[in-house]
């Protein structure tokens, strides 16, 4: 019977290995979380376009419909002899300029539907933040047209901050703010209690000033997520005191914003 058992085991493992192999040799597409942006101040048109291109081709999911041109018009190629979207967007709706039309298309998609297509476009405000939407608009404008989106547009449409520091309290009572401002995060998440920034804050942990000159981004990220992995020289007596919960207190985008901010403080 042992021979039979071994045969069954081998067959089972072989079948599992076959399916696992098939799934590993096909293209590996991962659904990314839309990266939060911080474009509210001094964002150049180039930065907006670059950010928008990433959203359009990635987490925004735009190409699933607009890339084929069957479910929705292709944005990047000519349509009905009118050129790509940046060239044709200003003439779609009477009295509505390109920027307004594109913004409206993403936030009120059923208001104007191109003839021959179904009203299947979702309101992108449920998926993307205002700055992500404006960055996408800038990218689409750049496709055959002039980029007119500015940081002021983002400020105008950004939701008013809620009382108590702009955070929302989701079900469960956990405060999760939407801010991407690293300085705001520094104060809000309690980093100020232990780390100095611009001469302010506690001295329980290493100063944030010039941190980028001493440490690389990967090391900083690890330090936030698993603070007890290493102990900074001179702070041995405080080893183990940093909370290990910043991975949960910060969204992935907030964490990244903070890491890049610190890594750039040379």
């Amino acid at each position: 019977m042992w021979r039979t058992n071994l045969k069954i085991l081998a067959l089972t493992l072989g079948v599992l290995a076959f399916y696992t192999m098939i799934a590993n040799v096909i293209p590996q597409l991962q659904s990314e979380v839309p990266a939060a942006l911080d474009l509210t101040s001094n964002a150049s048109p180039e930065a907006l376009v670059a950010a928008g291109e990433k959203i359009y081709n990635g987490a925004g999911g735009c190409t699933a419909c607009h890339g084929l041109g069957t479910r929705a018009p292709n944005m990047l190629t000519d349509y009905a002899g009118q050129g790509p979207i940046g060239a044709r967007c200003g003439t779609r709706e009477k009295g509505v300029d390109c920027k307004a039309y594109l913004y409206e298309s993403m936030t009120q998609p059923t208001k104007f539907v191109v003839s021959g297509f179904e009203p299947i476009m979702p309101d992108m405000r449920r998926q993307l933040s205002e700055d992500q939407i404006w960055a996408t608009v800038a990218y689409l404008e750049s496709q055959g047209g002039e980029v007119t989106v500015t940081a002021d547009d983002i400020k105008k449409t950004a939701p008013a901050p809620a009382a108590g520091g702009g955070g929302s309290v989701p079900p469960g009572g956990v405060a999760v703010t939407s801010t991407m401002d690293p300085v705001a995060l520094y104060n809000e998440k309690g980093c100020v209690g232990c780390h100095q920034l611009d001469g302010k804050g506690g001295q329980v942990g290493p100063s944030f000033d010039h941190m980028g000159a001493r440490l690389k981004a990967d090391y900083i990220r690890r330090g936030i997520l698993t603070p007890n992995a290493d102990t900074a020289k001179g702070f041995e007596k405080f080893a183990g005191t940093m909370p290990q919960t910043f991975g949960q207190m910060l969204s992935a985008a907030q964490l990244e914003a903070l890491v890049q901010f610190l890594a750039n403080r040379k």
Binding site: V15, Y19, V33, A252
Partner: protein
């Protein structure tokens, strides 16, 4: 503020703010993934098997055939062990979710608390009904008591189905919360029934109900295959050959209708949210359907192979063996078409040579028109295999038998013609029109299956036998096909679970609660496949252990001389007690 008090304050704030816990090694997502998947596999088994256990018992009562009753009892014996495993994995899942995803759990509990209490209560009632059903088998085996016992089996199914429907309410709320529920909505304001009766609840209920029967049948068939290979007497081999056949019959016959429930679910997902539907079919998950095609192709081939091999034990079946190679060819061609991807991953030079991402020839096969045609033809071919198996040892005696058979043949030709016509016509119309064609193709196949079966039942009335089926006269290799089916069905369940859960992407609850954990990104298929294989391996190992426990108990009973407890009990020789033809005659 002193340093220690500041640190303590920060730590306290951090602890209360924790939306996610940590799990060593495989992470929180991995831990919950495994617990949920293995729990679900056991749950599918314990919900699927009672369905056909009670049907088999009814056949035994009505037909006054004790062998069906014993078969039904043997199905149920497997349940007793599997129930404990289901509960244990369910408990583990609960602890993992509450400790690793406390924010999410708080939201769910605030919406669904009442249904959770009812769920727990029903689980108790279901468990006790099962114990009564199994342990009362021999006590209530005649007269009115037997019907009472059968009633317990019905109740067991009602409790189990209700429990599943409640749990489906929770998971479908995560993927399709009622319109109007937003991140700002207080959970208490969602409304329990409003949350449960969401857009995908009933399609999932029906899909899972059918899938559970498929899964239960496949696992029972694998159990029978194992016992067949381990059998030491002809009687045992005959019994487990028959049991394997019944399990496989249930799995495949219910599996054939599963895609129709899948279409309904897919349509509801599209109607609920186009973007979610597109993510599922045309977005990052589009390659998942290629993997699914590979698996279902294996299922079709293994199931047909088992039937064709089984015809070797049926007197009179040899007249049909000449068709086998044609059916095999058709199945393989359709499988290849179905598994052809639409877009190719190629180097820059290859892309330039092809003139784009679409291969000039394969592109034609990689679209839905070709795939729908292929899968419908595979269903028709498998149904034909079953029909030939069923007719193998009979000689119809009704006067209109020849005409009836011609009509049956015409129904096959007509159905295949409709499938091919709309498959080809689909290339010449807009996508929005083409989508509707699949309904016509499916309707033609369903109509063929139903009408041909009805005709066959009447043709078979009073038919002469060409000789009794030689149960037990099966080559060992046929039993390995049953193992392939069980492993593949289990893997397919894991894959479809990933598809259903993964289309939420970075949302715990679609557009209501974001996943802000380190695992928020939905992984690629390669990672998912490794997780699925791990879950399948854990599940099958535990199932093997449960099967072994069953045989252990059986040996102990046999040693005590309580032979009436043995499951087989089939008379010697060519088992006269076993049916001379296939179920459904």
């Amino acid at each position: 503020m002193t340093e220690p008090s500041l640190v303590a304050l920060l730590q306290a704030a951090a602890d209360t703010a924790g939306a996610y816990g940590r799990f060593p090694g495989i992470g929180a997502r991995g831990a919950v993934w495994i617990a949920a998947e293995v729990h679900l596999m056991f749950a599918a088994f314990v919900l699927g098997v009672p369905m056909f256990a009670v049907v088999t018992e009814l056949i035994g009562i009505v037909g006054k055939d004790a062998r069906y009753d014993k078969l039904s009892k043997e199905f149920t014996r497997l349940l007793v062990f599997a129930y404990s495993a289901t509960a244990l994995w369910g408990g583990l899942l609960l602890f993992l979710v509450t400790t690793l995803y406390p924010r999410f759990w708080t939201h769910m509990a605030r919406v669904f608390s009442l249904s959770m209490w009812i769920y727990a209560g029903l689980f108790f009632i279901e468990s006790f009904t099962l114990y009564l059903y199994y342990y009362g088998w021999d006590r209530w085996k005649v007269g009115r008591a037997k019907w009472g016992h059968f009633g317990l089996g019905i109740l067991l199914n009602i409790w189990g189905t209700t429990v599943m429907f409640i749990a489906n309410g929770w998971l479908t709320y995560m993927m399709s919360p009622p319109t109007g529920v937003t991140a700002e909505t207080l959970p208490e304001k969602v409304g329990l029934w409003n949350a449960i009766a969401n857009a995908t609840w009933m399609p999932i209920n029906i899909h899972r109900l059918i899938a559970n029967a498929v899964f239960g049948g496949a696992i029972v068939a694998a159990y029978a295959a194992y016992r067949f290979l381990a059998a030491t007497t002809d009687e045992e081999r005959a019994h487990y050959d028959w049991m394997g056949y019944v399990g496989n019959f249930i799995a495949i016959s219910t599996f054939i209708v599963l895609p129709f429930a899948g279409y309904w679910l897919g349509r509801e997902i599209y109607q609920y949210n186009q973007q979610m539907g597109i993510t599922m079919m045309g977005g990052f998950m589009s390659w998942l359907w290629i993997v699914q095609a590979v698996l279902i192709g294996v299922l079709f081939l293994a199931a047909n192979y088992y039937l064709w091999t089984g015809m070797g034990r049926i007197p009179g079946a040899e007249r049909f063996t000449k068709y086998t190679k044609w059916m095999l060819t058709l199945l393989v061609v359709c499988w290849i078409v179905w598994a052809t991807p639409h877009t190719m991953i190629a180097s820059r030079e290859e892309l330039a040579a092809m003139g784009g991402a679409h291969h000039p020839f394969l592109n034609v096969l990689g679209v839905m028109s070709a795939k729908n045609t292929a899968v419908n033809l595979m269903i028709l071919t498998t149904f034909l295999s079953f029909l030939l198996y069923r007719r193998a040892n009979t000689r119809p005696t009704v006067a209109w038998a020849k005409t009836g058979t011609l009509v049956q043949g015409a129904m096959f030709v007509l159905a295949a013609g409709v499938v091919l016509f709309y498959g080809i016509y689909g290339y010449f119309v807009e996508a929005i029109v083409r989508i509707g064609f699949s309904v016509y193709q499916v309707a033609a196949v369903l109509l063929c299956i139903i009408s041909v079966t009805v005709i066959d039942v009447f043709i078979g009335r009073g038919a002469e036998s060409r000789g009794e089926i030689q149960w037990g006269k099966m080559p060992d290799r046929s039993q390995y096909a049953l193992f392939v089916l069980a492993v593949t069905f289990t893997w397919l369940m894991g894959l479809m679970g990933f598809a259903r859960s993964g289309i939420r992407q970075h949302w715990h609850i679609w557009e209501v609660m974001r996943d802000t954990s380190v695992d928020a990104a939905t992984p690629a298929l390669g990672f998912a496949a490794r997780m699925i294989s791990t879950c399948v391996l854990i599940f099958l190992s535990l199932v093997a252990f449960i099967f072994w426990l069953g045989t252990l108990a059986e040996h102990a009973v046999a040693k005590r001389g309580a032979t009436h407890e043995l499951p087989a009990g089939v008379p010697a020789g060519v088992p006269p007690g076993l049916p001379a033809s296939a179920p459904g005659d």
